[in-house]
Amino acid sequence: MDDKLYRPFCLSTGEIIREMSEIDIVGMDSLEEESSELTSMGISSIITFAGARKGRLLLDMEPGLALSMAGAVLGGEYGDVKDPMVLSLVSEVNNIISGNAITGINNEFLMDLRLAPPVVFAGRDLVISIPRLRSFSSWGETEFGRIRINVAWEGGAS
């Protein structure tokens, strides 16, 4: 696996969440291959991209972390991840993380990748399936809950 196409997302996630919400992520320093199905921890956001290659980033976190981030960034208290303000915040965080990572990848590899808008969702018994894409996850911990990113590129891991 060429981790130059995966590491930028790990680094960007830690940097952006710390900058926006002053929440530190511990871990997120290794990548492991996932099956084609992922069970959401509570709230998830997907950004897909296309250019010289296609792929996507899934940002997935426990409700406590999403609610704490919303409180830190937007002010106030939030009690439900289905609150449109919480959904919008997670969506925007993913947009900034992905934009930052893709800018770095485009600059280094001239891939001319463009991002589709983020999709964010929360509900019961959520399972996400990304057919026919090999994907790798990186896990992190915060004082408010766990976070995972899952990165997939069409055409394999190199």
């Binding site: 084609s36 199905e37 959401s40 997907i46 950004i47 897909t48 991209f49 296309a50 296609k54 792929g55 996507r56 899934l58 289905k82 449109p84 959904l87 919008s88 969506s91 463009r114 991002l115 589709a116 808008p117 983020p118 999709v119 964010v120 969702f121 929360a122 509900g123 019961r124 018994d125 959520l126 399972v127 996400i128 399936s129 990304i130 057919p131 026919r132 894409l133 997939a152 069409e154």
Partner: protein, 153 residues
């Protein structure tokens, strides 16, 4: 949202459903939303980049998904949506959105589509666009599909 950006998705969905033998294809209710609430079991989402950016979500009941997958597999019975079934659903959403992007490019709007994601769950709240989302129901002999179109034009 200009109708010229909406019709290609409906025409493409109708065309793909017909290709798989669906009959009695009818357009149902239409509504504008900011937050999309889905009470069906399965949603396939495909992104779009280029002159138009956005996401298109196709939501359906599990029974409808099984009928579509069965139709795609020449009528083979589908008891559960295994890896092959999920892959077929991804391909279905790819075909519809890909055909819509061809129709859009025929009218001078160049777009590219991104890999599909299939989301299973109950009582799911989505945001697929920072602007409004247009929801259109399509009924056919295979069941109801709710198409949510969120385009940033």
């Amino acid at each position: 949202m200009d109708v010229k950006y909406i019709l290609p998705f409906l025409e493409a969905l109708k065309g793909v459903l017909e290709q798989f033998g669906a009959a009695d294809i009818k357009r149902g209710n239409m509504a504008k939303n900011e937050l999309m609430h889905v009470d069906t079991d399965i949603t396939a989402v495909v992104g779009m980049v280029g002159q138009v950016r956005g996401n298109i979500a196709y939501s359906m009941a599990e029974d409808t998904a099984k009928k579509i997958v069965s139709a795609m597999m020449m009528g083979m019975p589908v008891e559960e949506l295994d890896a092959m079934g999920r892959s077929a659903l991804g391909e279905f959403s790819n075909m519809v959105t890909g055909n819509a992007s061809t129709l859009l490019s025929n009218s001078g709007v160049q777009v590219d589509i991104t890999p599909p994601s299939i989301i299973f769950g109950k009582d799911v709240y989505f945001i697929i666009s920072s602007v409004e989302t247009l929801k259109i129901e399509m009924e056919s002999s295979l069941g109801k599909i709710e198409v949510n179109i969120g385009l940033e034009i």
